[in-house]
Symmetry: C2
Subunit: 353 residues, 2 copies
């Protein structure tokens, strides 16, 4: 007997998807089930790549959209399996992002003739290091499978549209010095004191706000770590400040790095992490139609999500899914039933009119 | 056959003392040997307490001096046993401080009738945490054994007199904040940025220089450690700067702390370590006679040594021993033969005239 009935009501279906445990790197069972159910649908062409399933309509429409969600969750935290309590469905993954996955599966099964060709993507390993990310692997190795005019990533967005995303850059800013016994500190040079200038520049920094496609993106430049010191009686000869720059999507990674280098002119910088932002791209016809169908003003996305994977491929993308993202990865993760119904209804309207 | 011949030349005797391994907490063999050899000397009254040996003349002199050295060493570092190479004796403890111990043992054996009554102290566990220090234990539990008008601690001082010592205070200065996702940094408050003010005060600080008994002591206020950060995408809510204040001996511990509290007014401080300085006390008659016998201008001691243990007991104390302290705890530790001979000769002159 199948674990999932894709024609069931989205609350029932979300609970069923949640109840298939699928912590990152353990997506075999859920991927097998999703693949099997999608293969039963004659209107979809199904491709499997690892534990990532791609199902496409081939209706010859003038536009194609991608609707994507990841199948994995973070580890359980006393919140498995699901539990329906009145108007709220509780449990691991209800918010991030099996509610969105269930809606996508339900629409894939019940909208055989959408107004746009649709590429449904259900992928693995979003919650772990980028190298394992199923969507990233497809984007690198089989980008033709993701070709589209517009993409919706069903990450929790409080059932509103969060457009584009910030980029993120992480650098280590290191200061040097010369060791000496702290009883004779004048013979050395204190690297932690030198790092004071790094912190002074961070404190004086005024982050930019920029409006793109009518959305205001706020940047931020912050120390997220600092470490220095040799021993309690030694003037330290090294200190490292780890700085995270969250940048608006009108800067690319190179421009973001150049900006940070300018801020820390005179210091040694080592880049430890970099990911591009994503422009909201709300002017594309399919995107504009989607915004109109949802009927709400898009908000800018603060944070980095896999929408950037689409942006790199030249596909405008938004986050749109049920659930408050503040409850993602929390023991009290949950999704409002109303979100599930509303997001399903709006997507159905957009796909069928 | 005895391991040590106290009447041997001080270079030979230093090598023999070095060649009895005595890393901290492993002083049994050396303490047994020192005790046995001192017990053979009729002019000394010997007390053993743990692995600390105290040998006293009881000649009824008007003044009493303490001459002390620790028996333990840091762990070997490819520098055991000793090796005589021309005018330099190499090896673990040659400098810190078995050269001084050998001179003291030699004088204890060969000066039976000194001008001042002498209390010779050979103690354990100086190189490890203060709670194990043999001299500190005697000072706390049997202070009468250390009663004297003047004390010489035979720590390496480049064969010059280093008078008194700085005190040391270590505090953790902690800043707080509020966590937030670094993509929405304006919702949090960055504790590392707040620590920038701590570093700013350290950078602006002008350490005092003060002359005491003709000696200039230099103070220093330094960050010796800093740590903060939760994760690469989190605005941190705590940062700790570990600050070490090395203070001139005209401040006591309470005054030193009050000063540091004033510097960091408005911040949370936790004291993690505090030890008093020691005034040079060169005006006492036995001290003045010693300075005259050595014939060199005393220098201030930069650093904390066990002379402070005597200072707490009201006994003025100096550091005076063979060897350059910069080579203590180093693989290339060594002592010049000339230092051994000179320090022995000067102490003998002072004790016998």
């Amino acid at each position: 007997m199948p674990l999932l009935d894709l024609t069931a009501d989205v609350v029932t279906l979300t609970a069923a998807v949640v109840d298939i445990a699928s912590e990152s790197h353990h997506e075999q069972v859920i991927a097998d089930e999703v693949e099997a159910r999608l293969l039963e649908l004659d209107h979809l062409q199904v491709v499997r790549d690892g534990h990532t399933i791609i199902a496409r309509t081939e209706l010859g429409r003038s536009s194609r959209v991608v609707i994507a969600g990841h199948l994995d969750t973070v580890p359980a935290n006393g919140n498995f399996p699901s539990r329906l309590d009145g108007d709220v469905l509780h449990g691991l993954g209800t918010c991030d992002m099996k509610g969105g996955v269930a809606i996508a599966l339900h629409l894939a099964a019940t909208v055989p003739d959408p107004a746009w060709d649709v590429t449904w993507v259900f992928y693995e390993a979003e919650e772990v290091a980028a190298e394992f990310n199923g969507l990233g692997r497809i984007a690198r190795e089989r980008p033709e499978l993701l070709a589209a005019d517009f993409a919706i990533l069903m990450e929790p967005s409080d059932a509103g549209i969060e457009a584009g995303c910030q980029g993120t850059l992480r650098v280590d800013v290191t200061t040097g010095g010369e060791r000496a016994h702290s009883a004779r500190s004048w013979r050395g040079s204190n690297a932690i004191h030198a790092a004071g200038e790094v912190l002074a520049r961070l404190r004086a920094y005024e982050p930019r706000r920029v409006v793109i496609d009518g959305l205001e993106y706020r940047e931020g430049l912050n120390a997220v770590g600092i470490s220095g010191g040799v021993a309690g009686n030694v003037i330290p000869d090294a200190c490292t400040v780890t700085v995270n720059f969250r940048f608006a999507p009108d800067r690319d990674e190179a421009a973001a790095l150049a900006h940070v280098q300018e801020v820390f002119d005179g210091f040694d910088l080592v880049v430890t992490d970099s990911a591009p932002g994503a422009l909201p791209g709300l002017t594309a016809p399919a995107a504009a139609a989607f915004v109109e169908a949802v009927g709400e003003s898009p908000r800018p996305k603060y944070g980095w999500t896999d929408v950037a994977q689409f942006s790199v491929l030249g596909v405008p993308a938004v986050n749109y899914g049920p659930g408050d993202p503040n409850f993602a990865h929390k023991a009290n993760e949950h999704v409002p039933v109303e979100h599930l119904h509303r997001v399903e209804r709006r997507l159905r309207e957009w796909l069928t009119t």
